[in-house]
Subunit: 331 residues, 2 copies
DNA sequence: GATATGCATGTTTGCGTAAACAAGAGGAGC
DNA sequence: GCTCCTCTTGTTTACGCAAACATGCATATC
């Protein structure tokens, strides 16, 4: 910076002003400084700026298991949005979704250099008022709002309701469920909504089979489920497991949708091209990511800002997409 | 830091020594400092450290399209490995894979604070000796080595060869190809290898149909391809497109594998559970990510280090997984 | 024409840390 | 018993930038 200042014949402070948007600098001096910067290939040292300002221009994202499509979509939306707003994004992946690990990851991130943190799927059950960090604004992307931090997510119950209602309206006596893992909030909420709906409709509530989101677990679950001939409708907690269910049905000679109706959740890009095309619940996860980001940046840039973003709807409603894997029961 | 030093009755420099691993500090003073740190909740300011050392403890990753499963797997491996080595990871997503955009992203990252950069799939064709940055070590994850930076990737040709050989050995007269997008190196290399193999085997080389990796594009491509009754074998450049091919075959009444053999590429988790289970080429992308990271960190930590990692194999060999979507032709 | 006002620019200072150098204490070797 | 060396600890300084304050000049106001 000193070199630039000297070459341009101004003070370092003026260079700083030119670099940091338009304070009040004459067009002439601005030009001088800019040409000097270009000539010297000057690039600001972000560490020094951070040290001087106390801000980093970076937000952190904590997630489990990047390879879960669900999480990646949110991360992508956050990264894209953050770039557009001039922030960069640091990512931390946590192995186990325990409170300890998450907190450690958040600390790792704040130890590093972030102005705010987004935690995807806090997953820490039995922690009514989780306080992950008080050093830095923190937003949670999850479908459960029982945290002390602003939370945005999907309306899982609405999604599950759409799926179950659809199957009941088709005339199925009840709906079986292949649930997601016990530690996952979305899984718990989908399962709870499914159960609540059956109860309200006065239907039998068969024990759910628990999977781990993977196609294999869906396959295994369906193998068990379909041992019972009376099963006519299965609601899988995600599309991947639904793939496994379809496979198991094919192997057992149960035709979908004639003998068995299947509904997934997520509407992954392959869902329309399965055999048969999968009826599923579409989630706009990018919207969740964007909302988290907006809220976080608002908190960062106006620290006294909107404490909880009252007024903005916090849970995005998913939408049922009916394809060819569901039909009325044949008997 | 000053507070800690005062409380512990030592100098700031001694605190610094305790914080940064074991220089040479008496066990007694170390203990004093550590208790003082704990008591005051001291946490080092990373911006100040970066300013003083010129190092950031962060590596940057540039990628297109995080939602491509392929890329995510690499990113995940990089993030996990980086964490284990004490680095954090910043991610930049580039819209268009042009040289200009990539270079801008790399600059954006280095403008920020990274000690090194990994670019996933450089994709800049017609740039024989791409020089993305000379300010910072840079490693490319791609299947084409014509860059001026160290490159690690898959042996795409070997993968394609395994797929095509498998189909030819089954007795198919030739193999049709649903290719990936023109701008993608892996797509180009898979396509080139497919073509080369058919030529070497003296088979007809049907014009490939180009998709964009999505299931939909695979579906569209297969619809066109299967208009020709003589098509008995299709090699899709990835599993997603293979899903579309399977769907198109089902709609057109072509049974797989009896009437039509299909091979994919990637071995995504749902591949074994498609109808029929998909024969495909398994790629260990995590290994690619790990190698990139190792090489990058080596360059960062020993700047004069291994200029091109001579000796380590740079391209991971994929492996054919035969399932039920391939069989000898019936006629 | 003198004073007030506003705006562009310069000067000083501090952000929190680690590197380089300096100093002191203790022990080994002769 | 003296010198020399080694090991621990302290002191000084620089990293590159922006905030706060200071200056000086030009214009407006009466």
């Amino acid at each position: 910076m000193a070199d630039v200042a000297e070459l341009a014949g101004v003070s370092g402070q003026t260079v700083s002003r030119v670099v940091n948007g338009n304070d009040r600098v004459t067009a002439a001096t601005r030009l001088k400084v800019e040409t000097a910067m270009k000539q010297l290939g000057y690039r600001a040292n972000i560490a020094a700026r951070a040290l001087a300002t106390g801000r980093f221009g970076t937000i952190g994202v904590v997630t489990f298991n990047l390879s879960a499509v669900l999480n990646v979509r949110i991360v992508e939306a956050v990264v894209t949005g953050a770039q557009a707003r001039g922030y960069s994004v640091s990512i931390a992946v946590v192995d186990a979704p325990t409170e300890k690990d998450v907190r450690a990851a958040v600390r790792g991130l704040t130890d590093r250099a972030v102005d705010g943190v987004i935690v995807i799927e806090a997953r820490v059950l039995d922690t009514p008022h989780l306080q992950l960090s008080d050093e830095v604004p923190l937003v949670i992307a999850d479908s459960k709002a029982a945290h002390r931090h602003p939370t945005f997510g999907m309306d899982e119950a609405a999604g599950a309701r759409a799926a179950v209602d659809h199957l009941l309206e088709l005339g199925h006596a009840t709906v079986h469920h292949v649930a997601g893992p016990a530690g996952s909030n979305p899984a718990q909420r989908r399962r709870a909504a499914w159960q609540r709906l059956l109860k309200r409709a006065g239907r039998a509530i068969p024990p759910p089979v628990v999977g781990d989101w993977s196609p294999r677990s869906g396959y295994d679950a369906a193998l068990r489920l379909l041992a019972d001939d009376s099963v006519t409708a299965v609601f899988a907690a995600n599309d991947q497991m639904a793939v496994g269910v379809l496979r198991a049905a094919a192997e057992l000679g149960r035709r979908v949708p004639d003998d068995l109706s299947v509904v997934g959740f997520d509407d992954l890009d392959f869902a329309p091209f399965l055999t048969p095309p999968l009826t599923t619940v579409r989630q706009d996860l990018a919207a969740v990511g964007r909302r988290c980001l907006e809220h976080l940046i608002a908190q960062i840039e106006t620290p006294a800002g909107p404490a909880t973003a009252a007024g903005t709807s916090r849970f995005v409603r998913p939408e049922l997409v009916v394809r060819a894997s569901t039909a009325p029961p044949r008997r």
